[in-house]
Subunit: 295 residues, 2 copies
Amino acid sequence: MGRLISLIENESPQLREVMTALMPFTGHAHVVGITGSPGVGKSTSTNALVGELRRRGRRVGVLAVDPSSPFSGGALLGDRIRMQDHVLDPEVFIRSMASRGHLGGLSWSTPQALRVLDAAGFDVILIETVGVGQSEIEIASTADTTVILLAPGMGDGIQAAKAGILEIGDVYVINKADRPGADKVRRDLRTMLSLGERAQDAWKPPIIKASATKGEGIAEVVDGLEEHLAFLRSTETLGRRRRTRARDEIEAIALAAMRRRWGAVGARAELDELADRIVAGSLDPYTAADSLLDG
Amino acid sequence: MGRLISLIENESPQLREVMTALMPFTGHAHVVGITGSPGVGKSTSTNALVGELRRRGRRVGVLAVDPSSPFSGGALLGDRIRMQDHVLDPEVFIRSMASRGHLGGLSWSTPQALRVLDAAGFDVILIETVGVGQSEIEIASTADTTVILLAPGMGDGIQAAKAGILEIGDVYVINKADRPGADKVRRDLRTMLSLGERAQDAWKPPIIKASATKGEGIAEVVDGLEEHLAFLRSTETLGRRRRTRARDEIEAIALAAMRRRWGAVGARAELDELADRIVAGSLDPYTAADSLLDG
């Protein structure tokens, strides 16, 4: 599995063959995205969730995706160490992934890595990523269920409103709930969630207080994940989410293929010439883009 | 100008016409990217730089780009307030921009906003963005000169190594240099910069200590910007950077055009059907992408 995921990170041409072979074995896993600002305790929470899922007999895959590092694939070593409770368990697979190769981001690499773990028969796949920039939105469009982690004392109220997490969370967890301010974070979040418009039969995201280091509230979080999956199944939302994910994936692969064409020797020379004319002010970028697409 | 930039934010179909008309008037402005982690004092520094550039008689445009907010265009209000020293100066134009519309990111919107300010005759355009995720890399590929802001007491040594800022800075500024630890930040940065490989005749990025609130070191930063521009001119690097920027822009516009085609009604139905077959496990995403591109 590790080697297959390396093929993805290296954008290997063999991927097409691999994915074709895996397709018939996919569709079983519950994909859970876990995101939150730096410092809310993502790795510790993921570690605790893996423990609880194992107690319930589930096989668990973990993908820790680092969207901030376009340069190195060796990121998140510290996080892997924090998850070491489970490294010797053969029913748990943990992998860090650099997500920013040439082909662009989570939307290209993550669905393919998911497919590898899904085909391998994992019941639950946790994708953990830090909530900065665009990554949390991308994770939400990739996962069946999105868990938003918050913690007291981090100005998360404002942060929540700003980053748009109110629109993407299926389960909210106030981690470090033994610290002062946890109730206020919960109250603020509840108020903000109640302000949004929701259909009557829509899912109502639970807000769960937890302490990942003490193991408190973790069973409730896993209950929340399972209830959400049952809801998705009962309302056909699961199929709709997975269709959206597949559509994004097709587009990402097609866009990457376009980029590769434009990077080929002949096209590259044409693109350089178009760019020179833009720099000289003799051509506008829209006409240049038309030439590229028709060329 | 504000209205033209709104056209960009709204992805208006009129843009093509506008850009065509502006092209002959472009190529004059020195484009300076300013980035750094939250809390290093970006707005205050930008404000101080505008002041110094004005003292030197330059007309200055400022684009404050918020890459973290895909949902609202009203971001960065606080930052605009911090720059209010210059809002009444007719030779200064300040604009906040949301960068994450449907068409994807800095690479689509920023070059076009730059072109508007460039054509309007500004001598220097400062693009300020927070250094999270991919945004600082994008800003560096858009600017002629990239300024990386650091500050003591923020673990910037590690941060620098992690985010790859060592490869993108043309001028480094240790802001808040009156605080303890500024010399250590400079020393660490110098060591890290010296470890990278550089051609003998390459630009050697200066590391300047400054205090934006006190106005200290700001003239030296502007000197650094001007020296870097002279270097770019003398070595043909300027043309090369601008060609790269134009190439990225053409690609971004072409990719957006592809996405728009796929979003059109007929194509959308085909894409949905391909996605359903992927979810069912009967088709692989590569073959689906081929169909999309050939369709």
